[in-house]
């Protein structure tokens, strides 16, 4: 009887002393990967595509050259401290060339579909606030989740079948610093490409 109770106690203690978790969950946590799916969607839909500060690219260039400080306040955004700001832009143009993922447009600007790695879309969307993040690591993880979705899924799908000479409409984000003045063209990190 005593032996039976002892075994039972050992079994209960043994069960309570370990915690079972799916290996995939553990791997995800260890690599710092979090599920930002809903947040990414909100940034793209509310923060970019339906954002009232979305400006025609030629209009933005005009305003930047006219008064950078006012344009930064009115249309730009940036998390933290820095001299440049990020802007939301939209436009329509014909494709002059496509080389190494860089789509050159006939208005002089270009869509960089290959190097969507920076803070352009995140900051221009105005959807992210520093107070929401306890560590830089979490903020960087969200940035990469957003960029990865655009770079590896959304933009490649939208670029399918698009060729030199096509007329496209686009929405995206760009960075402008005081040293870029006078601005003659923009490098845009795309969020949406349609033709």
């Amino acid at each position: 009887m005593k032996k039976g109770i002892g075994i039972l106690v050992l079994l209960v203690l043994g069960y309570q002393s370990v915690y079972f978790e799916k290996l995939s969950t553990r791997t995800q946590q260890a690599s710092g990967v979090q599920d930002f799916g809903k947040r990414v969607e909100a940034i793209l839909v509310q923060g970019v595509l339906n954002n009232p500060v979305l400006t025609e690219d030629q209009q933005l260039i005009k305003e930047l050259n006219n008064n950078l400080t006012n344009t930064q306040k009115k249309l730009g955004n940036r998390l933290g401290i820095g001299e440049s700001a990020y802007y939301l832009v939209k436009g329509k143009a014909r494709i002059s060339s496509i080389r190494d993922g860089y789509v050159l447009l006939d208005n002089g600007s270009g869509l960089d579909t290959q190097f969507i790695f920076g803070n352009e879309v995140r900051d221009a969307s105005r959807m992210i606030h520093l107070e929401d993040f306890k560590s830089q690591k979490d903020l960087n993880a969200l940035t990469e989740a957003l960029n990865k979705h655009l770079r590896e899924t959304k933009i490649p799908a939208e670029m399918k079948g698009i060729q030199v000479g096509d007329e496209i409409s686009y929405v995206g984000a760009c960075e402008v610093a005081p040293s870029d003045l006078p601005v003659t063209s923009l490098t845009i990190y795309p969020v949406e490409i349609k033709h």
Binding site: G118, N140, S179
Partner: protein
């Protein structure tokens, strides 16, 4: 009896008068003053605090957590009212911050992050990750997405070392044509990086690029590469924005670096301390300070 009350009254009035007229004192505690970059950070913080009308004193932790701990003990007992802090250790320094917090002294971290979300009042940090994302993009473009490379990391266990390497690899690892042949710590030290680069070149004669976690190491690596007669073959990338490296970028000897702004971090930390004295109690836990890419095209602006 009335003289006793008069004396007590004068004594108490004197005490309260001293408290209300004495300006708060700010301590600036820096991990090491052996490195010119940290000297700029520390001296700028003192200057900013003084410019804002406060007494400030600089402390050197000599990269030694024990010395740092002694500084905290002393400055808490000496009545400092705020600490602008560049920690020696991401984990080890947390206990010191908590001691200050317990004594009601706000701590504003500069440049180096501690692994706690609620110890420091705020952490004002270079955006190392994004800065090195930009370096990574430049690296891929300069090597046309293919070739062999090595990496010289900073200090093991240091958050900036991790953030820089992580930002760089976020980009570079996506390009399968780029092959990492070796990764070693150079401890942010020029001489050590030179030795590391020498041994990595001996082991791998086909290196075409090297990413270094700071500019001191980039200069050490460049020295080794130049001595080996491989400066045409191996492209060097650094991080910090040191004058010597910016000059070498202009001369076409080093490809790129990330420009950090220690004076901006120091100014922000000092301003936050003053705002705290004036009643502000809520600060973002992390404030990233932008890092600019310096390459052949942009070097003229720096």
């Amino acid at each position: 009896m009335k003289y006793i009350f008069l004396f007590l009254g004068l004594f108490l009035a004197g005490c309260s008068s001293k408290e209300s007229t004495e300006k708060p004192k700010i301590a600036v505690v820096i991990s090491t003053l052996n490195n010119p970059w940290f000297v700029v950070l520390g001296e700028s913080a003192v200057q900013q605090a003084e410019k804002l009308g406060y007494e400030a004193k600089l402390f050197d932790s000599q990269n030694n957590p024990a010395v740092e701990s002694d500084h905290f003990e002393n400055l808490i007992s000496s009545g400092f009212d705020a600490i602008l802090f560049n920690p020696t250790d991401a984990d080890g320094s947390i206990a010191n911050i908590l001691k200050a917090k317990e004594a009601g002294i706000p701590v504003f971290c500069m440049d180096r992050e501690v692994n706690s979300n609620d110890a420091a009042t705020s952490q004002i940090l270079s955006d190392n990750y994004t800065g090195c994302v930009a370096i990574g993009v430049e690296f891929v473009k300069q090597l046309h997405g293919k070739g062999n490379y090595v990496e010289i990391l900073g200090l093991a266990g240091d958050n900036n070392t991790y953030a820089r390497s992580n930002g760089f690899h976020t980009v570079v690892d996506k390009f399968k044509g780029l092959k990492l042949l070796g990764q070693q710590n150079g401890d942010f030290d020029r001489n050590k990086a030179m030795e590391v680069m020498e041994s990595m070149m001996q082991a791998n004669p086909s290196i075409q690029g090297v990413f270094c976690g700071n500019d001191a190491m980039a200069l050490g690596a460049f020295q080794a590469i130049q001595s080996a007669g491989k400066s045409e073959q191996i492209k060097v990338f650094g991080f910090d924005g040191a004058d010597e490296v910016v000059q070498k970028i202009k001369e076409g000897k080093i490809v790129a670096t990330g420009m950090q702004y220690p004076k901006v971090m120091a100014k922000t930390a000092a301003t936050f301390a003053v705002e705290f004295f004036k009643g502000r109690k809520s600060f973002p836990q992390h404030i990233p300070v932008g890092v600019n890419l310096v390459n052949a095209k942009t070097a003229k602006h720096f």
